[in-house]
């Protein structure tokens, strides 16, 4: 089996550009990337089928000279599947544009919340002050408020266990200030992005 070099080069170019585009945030570019990628892979199947031969029709050529029909059947199936998925992706990109004014893949809401909480050094939403106290029946608003500001050590991620020692308190507050700054810039960037997005 001796694959044609030209085909390999085509696969290389298609897959490389496809991967680049799939890594973009805009769904339309991802879509183009997926199309390029799948075309590249379809050509890869042709490479896999070996040297080109006569058409695989019974009686048109001796069986030994025919090209392998099986990969062609697979490629056909793959093309059909890609067509369907392309249509779906296109519809989704359009819907995203309808809803948000852009078609960019967004961050997960909860992730963003957790990140901003970590930035503010707050307790997580699942942290329950009752866990720490003696099991009081009534969870009063005061208890909640008292616990909200200085985050108890347990509520923070496991990695920060060493930060419990008093000595690191200063470092922590410095870090907090820095994070607050970062958050500020991030937020303004987000606002700008939103402004851009709501053009229509």
């Amino acid at each position: 089996m001796s694959p044609a070099l030209a085909l390999v080069a085509v696969v290389f170019v298609l897959v490389a550009t496809g991967v680049y585009l799939v890594l973009e945030r805009s769904l339309t570019r991802v879509l183009v990337g997926v199309i390029l990628l799948s075309n590249g892979i379809n050509v890869l199947f042709l490479v896999a089928s070996g040297r080109a031969g006569a058409p695989a029709l019974v009686g048109s050529a001796p069986a030994g000279e025919m090209s392998d029909p099986l990969p062609q059947a697979m490629v056909l199936t793959a093309i059909v599947i890609t067509l369907g998925l392309t249509a779906f992706l296109l519809a989704m990109a359009y819907r995203s544009w309808q809803l948000h004014g852009h078609d960019e893949v967004q961050d997960d809401v909860e992730d963003r919340q957790i990140r901003s909480r970590a930035g503010r050094d707050e307790t997580s939403g699942s942290y329950d002050p009752d866990d720490e106290e003696t099991p009081v029946e009534e969870r009063s608003e005061d208890a909640r408020r008292a616990h909200a500001s200085p985050a108890p050590a347990d509520a923070r991620p496991a990695g920060s266990a060493d930060a419990r020692s008093a000595g690191s308190a200063d470092a922590r507050s410095a870090g907090r200030a820095e994070r607050r700054e970062q958050r500020g810039t991030a937020r303004s960037a987000e606002r700008r992005a939103r402004g851009r997005g709501e053009r229509p």
Binding site: M1, P3, V22, L27, V30, V34, L37, S38, I41, L44, F45, V47, A48, S49, D68, L70, P71, M74, T77, A78, I81, G84, L85, F88, L89, M92, R95, S96, L99, H100, V105, Q106, D108, V109, E110, D111, I114, S124, G125, S126, D128, D130, E137, E138, R139, S140, E141, R144, P157, A158
Partner: protein, 620 residues
């Protein structure tokens, strides 16, 4: 109601067609002289849902007929699967080569012990979820909503899952994956709300990427061996140079790893699953990742049995368990929490597969079955909780066990099962895995044993926290009456979860607004109705807001049935483990599979794994 009649007619004709197929193909091998050709059954789990999907699409305007068609279809699939499971024990692996083409050119469908076991459990779960969603649709009176597409899509999903389990060649496995993925895309973005489109984009792009990797792997396999038939591959792969084998092995594992949500490739799952409607999340959680696990089992046993990547898999399994469960501990929304436990517990299955002994593999198979049932049940229960409480966030829920003890029980049993509390099936699966790890004796398996125990404890912590906060704590923080009123104003016709249109967010927003607006800790005297309802005092049903009390029986019944199914896994653990062990042995020997598809001559050329040889005596 023409639906059921037509469906039965079509089923009969489908039977006839596949009967002819079976007779032409290699199906006769196992079952000469039987009245009913067992292999006739093999294509049914794929054909019946597909035919029914078309029918359901045609009946889009007739809700009830549509529901009847899909229920009947999935019930037929369940019966077929169970029948095949029984038959496989008797007569051995069932094979159908579709269209009568010889294996290697045509597509063969193979039902061996593993396939039928997975198929039985998955179809039982699929049917349960379908009944649940039908009841949900009926309860919400969703006429005219875009959910007419739900039934056909759901059936295609079911057909895709069956096709993946039964597939006897790699490319057909890919087609099965694509069927279920395409259907899952539609189901995940039902209604096209902002949140679902956001979640959907991640999911779709990641799934497409995994499909493309899989396709590359198939092309490479074909280039290297000239076949994609799973029975022909063992012999030809064995003959390849090591480097090529490793490349093929890795690319297949990466493709399946994304589908199964194994750690470095798992980040997409908790982001995308929780936004879908409850029944959809439930069926995704139960089935989709498990199809990936099934494919990994096949890769590790049939195609690349020498276990070169076992250590990599062990490390990855450990990371999956730990990172998954740490994510779960951090969540405040129960749906997200369960999505993380889903990821985490995939680690157990990979652990069992990577240990690679009969014991390990059998426990992994048992664990897959257990996990399909339990995880689906939990998501269904959460759907009920969400109906009742308006949210699944632990911050806003409280006292659910008091408002509705039934919901409490329904959640508690599978939650404890998930955590692995001793008599339940979760414990048995984990115990088997730990035993297999200890029996292996290597350093890495022993570390994994420790990791799995730790994960189990953390799972218990996570679900116990959910239980304490949502089900047991005093519901002091939310004023439900207010929340409902705000909700009713926001959403004039109580939109169904299936039809979507921002409903979940709106509802959640309403709850938050109500919470912010009212005093956070209301005195009991001030709002007698709401507070009474939440603390379990005797309250006249009429006083309680309608939206909160209405948990339709039709939705509770399938959930309860699945809880019972989960419990029956415990009761039937003995026979089930025996079947799992048999199938593990069969998988490790490799010969039975090849022999069933290609005949004894081909099977003689395939060596069974050295591990299987060694364990034939000592493993049990």
């Amino acid at each position: 109601m023409t639906g059921p009649g037509t469906a039965v007619g079509l089923l009969a004709s489908a039977l006839a067609v596949t009967g002819a197929d079976g007779a032409q193909g290699g199906g006769l091998r196992a079952t000469q002289g039987q009245v009913l050709e067992w292999p006739t059954l093999v294509p049914l789990p794929v054909l019946v849902p597909l035919v029914a999907a078309g029918l359901a699409l045609a009946l889009a305007r007739h809700r009830r007929a549509q529901a009847a068609v899909s229920t009947v279809a999935l019930a037929v699939v369940l019966l077929t699967a169970v029948a095949m499971l029984v038959a496989v024990q008797d007569v051995g692996t069932l094979v159908v080569t579709v269209g009568g083409w010889p294996a290697g050119v045509g597509i063969s469908l193979v039902a061996d012990q593993l396939s039928t076991l997975m198929l039985s459990v998955s179809s039982a779960v699929t049917l349960g979820v379908l009944v649940y969603s039908v009841a949900q649709g009926a309860a919400d009176g969703d006429d005219g909503a875009p959910v007419a597409i739900f039934h056909p899509t759901y059936l295609v999903l079911s057909a895709g899952v069956s096709n993946a389990f039964l597939s006897g060649d790699l490319f057909n496995l890919y087609v099965g994956f694509e069927m279920l993925l395409a259907a899952s895309f539609v189901l995940l973005t039902l209604g096209g709300t902002g949140a679902r489109i956001r979640a959907g984009s991640t999911y779709v792009v990641v799934s497409l990427a995994s499909s493309l990797v899989f396709l590359v792997a198939i092309a490479l396999v074909y280039a290297a061996t000239g076949t994609v038939n799973l029975a022909q591959l063992p012999e030809r792969l064995d003959a390849l140079p090591d480097g090529v084998r490793l490349t093929l092995h890795l690319s297949l594992l990466v493709a399946f790893g994304i589908k199964a949500a194994v750690f470095p490739l798992s980040a997409w799952l908790p982001d995308s699953y929780p936004t879908a409607p409850a029944p959809v999340t439930a069926v995704f959680a139960g089935l989709l990742t498990k199809v990936g696990v099934y494919a990994i089992i096949r890769t590790q046993t049939l195609l690349f049995p020498e276990g070169r990547l076992d250590d990599v898999l062990l490390v990855v399994a450990l990371a999956t368990m730990l990172f998954g469960i740490l994510g779960a501990v951090a969540q405040s929304d129960i749906k997200r929490l369960l999505s993380f436990t889903l990821v985490s517990h995939i680690g157990y299955m990979v652990f069992g597969i990577a240990v690679g002994s009969v014991m390990g593999l059998a426990s992994a198979i048992f664990y897959v079955i257990h996990h399909i049932t339990v995880q689906t049940t939990l998501f269904l229960v959460l759907g009920l909780v969400e109906r009742r409480g308006g949210t699944t966030s632990m911050d806003h829920l409280g006292g659910v066990a008091k408002i509705s003890p039934l919901l409490g029980v329904l959640f508690f049993v599978p939650a404890m099962n998930l955590a692995g509390i001793p008599p339940l099936s979760g414990f048995l699966g984990k115990a088997g895995l730990v035993q297999a790890g200890v029996a292996d004796g290597g350093v890495l398996p022993l570390v994994l044993v420790g990791g799995s125990v730790l994960t189990s404890l953390l799972t218990l912590y996570a679900v116990a926290k959910a239980w304490n906060r949502a089900f047991w704590s005093r519901p002091a923080t939310v004023d439900r009456e207010e929340a409902t009123r705000a909700h009713d104003e926001d959403v004039p016709d109580a939109a169904t979860t299936l039809s979507g249109v921002g409903e979940v967010q709106q509802r959640r927003g309403a709850v938050e607004r109500a919470q912010g607006g009212s005093v956070l800790a209301p005195e009991e005297g001030e709002r007698p109705a709401a507070a009474g309802a939440l603390t379990g005092m005797a309250v006249d049903q009429d006083q309680v807001p309608v939206d909160m009390t209405r948990v339709p029986r039709g939705m509770v019944a399938p959930t309860a049935a699945l809880v019972v199914l989960g419990l029956s896994l415990t009761v039937l653990a003995g026979p089930l483990l025996r079947v799992a062990e048999d199938s593990a042995l069969e998988l490790l020997q490799r010969r039975p599979y090849v022999q069933a598809v290609l005949g004894p001559a081909a099977a003689d050329r395939v060596s069974s794994t050295t591990r299987a040889e060694g364990l034939l005596g000592g493993g049990r």
